[in-house]
């Protein structure tokens, strides 16, 4: 059983939902990332999504675009993100780490080389925004051999006919993009998300996380009422952007607030 699966199962057994924060690796500089990951876990994160900087982040809004640019100014790339994960693993063997980014850095490294290096670094899952199931067969097979979960996005536009292909290849969890748009866009509508999740669950047996547009504890609490996991990205990256002073503490306390709101959802 993968670390993601066992984490999800343990949470489900307690009737709780996973809290999945996203930060861009190397933002604002490579030295801070591992410390921030620990601070997020301490605040109550169950899984960490670590953004791999890319020169052309087509699916991201301005906040995460700028995070990528700050990291790239330090020339942070996939191999550095793997090194950061390995560093994180030295003192945390429990929290799953998912690398989130675009296909080309993985392509450039080669699927096989990447899979081996990722296992060695302690990576648990990979989410490549621009690798839909149609193009993912080879990558999925190689990652599966190495025990790494390939995580797919689902969108409001995804028709039932595509869900079967996703169900066949996806592992770990699936990530439902709550709105049409880029990361950091407007607030999501919890009622329409709830309706869509009912439909998705007819086809998808994996846990379903919801992200895009979750900016505060209250929204997180309401989403936790309908989803298996809550993903928060741009809101955290905005904290990073606000400056390095007390950053770990700020992220920690924000996550604590979200965690406690989510845990009252079930009470």
């Amino acid at each position: 059983m993968s670390r993601i699966e066992s984490t999800m199962q343990a949470l489900a057994a307690q009737g709780r939902q996973a809290l999945i924060p996203f930060i861009t690796a190397g933002d604002p500089n490579p030295g801070v990332t591992v410390g921030l990951m620990h601070a997020l876990v301490d605040g109550g994160a169950d899984i960490i999504e670590l953004g791999v900087p890319f020169s052309d982040p087509m699916a991201d809004g301005p906040v995460i675009q700028r995070a990528s640019e700050r990291a790239l100014a330090h020339r942070v790339s996939l191999r550095h993100v793997l090194a950061m994960t390995a560093e994180f693993r030295k003192t945390d063997s429990k929290t799953p780490v998912v690398l989130m980014g675009y296909a080309n850095p993985v392509e450039a490294m080669g699927y096989e080389t990447f899979a081996k290096a990722a296992v060695e670094a302690g990576v648990d899952g990979v989410l490549t925004v621009d690798l839909p199931p149609e193009e993912a067969e080879e990558c999925a097979a190689i990652l599966k051999t190495h025990g790494i979960d390939l995580i797919f996005l689902l969108a409001p536009t995804t028709p039932p006919s595509r869900l079967q292909a996703v169900q066949r290849l996806a592992r770990g969890y699936v990530y439902y993009v709550s709105l049409k748009g880029v990361t950091g866009a407007a607030h999501l509508d919890v009622d329409s998300v709830a309706a869509k999740l009912l439909e998705l669950r007819k086809y998808i047996s994996l846990p379903i996380g919801v992200g895009f547009g979750i900016r505060d504890a209250e929204t997180a609490r309401r989403v936790a009422g309908v989803a298996d996991a809550v993903v928060i990205g741009s809101r955290l990256v905005q904290e990073v952007e606000a400056g390095e002073d007390g950053l770990a503490e700020r992220l920690n306390s924000f996550i604590k607030g979200v965690r406690s709101a989510m845990d009252t959802a079930r009470a």
Binding site: A59, D60, Q65, D130, P132, A155, T158, V177
Partner: protein, 418 residues
């Protein structure tokens, strides 16, 4: 002259009645190892809808009749083929013929595609179109057809390109389009395309994305090619009329490569015709400051929805490119060109900024034609090749656009304040 259906469906000039051997892409948009659909999930259903609607449209005689009517009466097709006699004599070798896409309405080949896609947008009930542009030619062609069909139009353009192509920016505004300067990344064509993708993913229900080159996710590389194939289809008839045979080589500039694929594709199955794509050599391939992924031997990668040869560093980050011509300043290339390189059917070479400028001035002075800087790259290679060949050889160069938009750039290089 009767315009035919796109050549991959119905080869119009298949004189020998041979079966068409070249049939690309496959059903999922792959040209060998290139092409495909690499986009975020939100866009997948829209691309599928586009593919289905496109298949229906080109099978619909009314759609094709309207497309042909617009090309004839609005664009002014067929565009002539012209024998550049004085320049050929000056070069002292092969005879150079020019396919005059510069004489199209809007001044470049881009409108062949935007007409087709605007008709598709209208057929699909979309009221808003978006486009990316480098030199501004595709932006102008999109703004033009949006005005023609009463569609709202937003054009994304790199901030650097907005500065160096100011006449085209103003033309788009005159035509009623909104031009959005893009200040992220390298502030050129690739960043404009990123921003257009972001707009599309946000407004996918109401908006049709008119991609201007033969790149992007399937079905774009195929449909842009099909709409541009009118260039090669006409040329095949015109060359027989003019010289009694097909040319020995067809030469076209390649950024994304839509004008090149439009003139190459109908010739792919014609034996004995060399196909030569000319990339932007910038300051020279050895300087690293260029936009010539095919010539420089770049590795394949994934960008803007397709796999293709791509200028990237060892970490898979996209490298900033350089060319004097904004329209060629792009790190990738249409996937079909990558495929034609792989199978050895087309050759790819580069011309530097300096060579392109020389050819620009030569065509002005010897033929009275002011070419676009993009097209000047194709001319530059023709000027290099022609003197090495006998006088009875024939080179057909796609003069993909006119150079009015480049006059401020050229004047600045010559130290002249306009």
């Amino acid at each position: 002259m009767q315009l035919q259906q796109p050549s991959h469906r119905l080869p119009s000039e298949n004189v020998m009645n041979e079966p068409l051997r070249y049939h690309q892409p496959d059903v999922r948009g792959h040209f060998g190892q290139h092409g495909g659909i690499y986009v975020a999930e939100t866009l997948m259903p829209a691309l599928d809808e586009l593919r289905v609607e496109y298949e229906k449209a080109i099978a619909d005689p009314d759609f094709m009749a309207e497309y042909r009517y617009e090309l004839k009466h609005y664009v002014g097709r067929p565009s002539p083929v012209y024998h550049a006699k004085r320049w050929s004599e000056q070069l002292g070798g092969a005879q150079i013929y020019l396919k005059r896409e510069d004489l199209n309405h809007t001044g470049a080949h881009k409108v062949n595609n935007t007409i087709g896609q605007a008709l598709l947008a209208r057929r699909m009930g979309k009221k808003r179109v978006i486009a990316e542009t480098g030199a501004g030619q595709h932006g102008v062609a999109s703004a033009t057809v949006a005005a023609r069909y009463g569609l709202e139009c937003v054009v994304y353009m790199g901030a650097e390109d907005v500065a160096r192509q100011s006449p085209n920016v103003y033309r788009m505004k005159l035509l009623g389009a909104t031009v959005v300067p893009v200040s992220s990344g390298s502030k050129t064509l690739k960043d404009a395309m990123n921003e257009a993708m972001r707009d599309w993913v946000t407004n996918v229900d109401s908006t049709y994305y008119i991609i201007g080159t033969c790149a992007g996710p399937h079905p774009y590389p195929m449909l842009v090619r099909d709409f541009q194939c009118v260039i090669g289809e006409e040329a095949k008839v015109q060359m027989v009329d003019l010289v009694g045979r097909q040319p020995d080589a067809v030469i076209a500039c390649v950024g994304g490569g839509s004008n090149a694929i439009g003139i190459f594709h109908p010739y792919v199955d014609v034996p004995g015709v060399r196909l030569i794509g000319v990339e932007a050599g910038g300051d020279g391939l050895d300087t690293g400051r260029h936009a010539a992924p095919l010539t420089a031997g770049a590795k394949p990668g994934v960008l803007h929805g397709n796999r293709t040869y791509l200028m990237q560093d060892e970490d898979g980050q996209i490298i900033e490119t350089h060319s004097i011509s904004a329209g060629l300043d792009y790190p990738g290339v249409g996937p079909e060109h990558s495929f034609l390189k792989d199978i050895g059917r087309a050759e790819y070479v580069a011309a530097t900024d300096k060579e392109a400028l020389q050819a620009f001035h030569d065509l002005c002075r010897f033929e009275g034609i002011i070419p676009a800087l993009e097209s000047s790259h194709a001319l530059a290679y023709a000027a290099r090749l022609a003197p090495t060949l006998p006088k009875d050889q024939v080179l057909l160069v796609n003069l993909s656009g006119r150079g009015d938009k480049d006059i401020p750039t050229i004047a600045k290089l010559d130290g002249i304040q306009l």
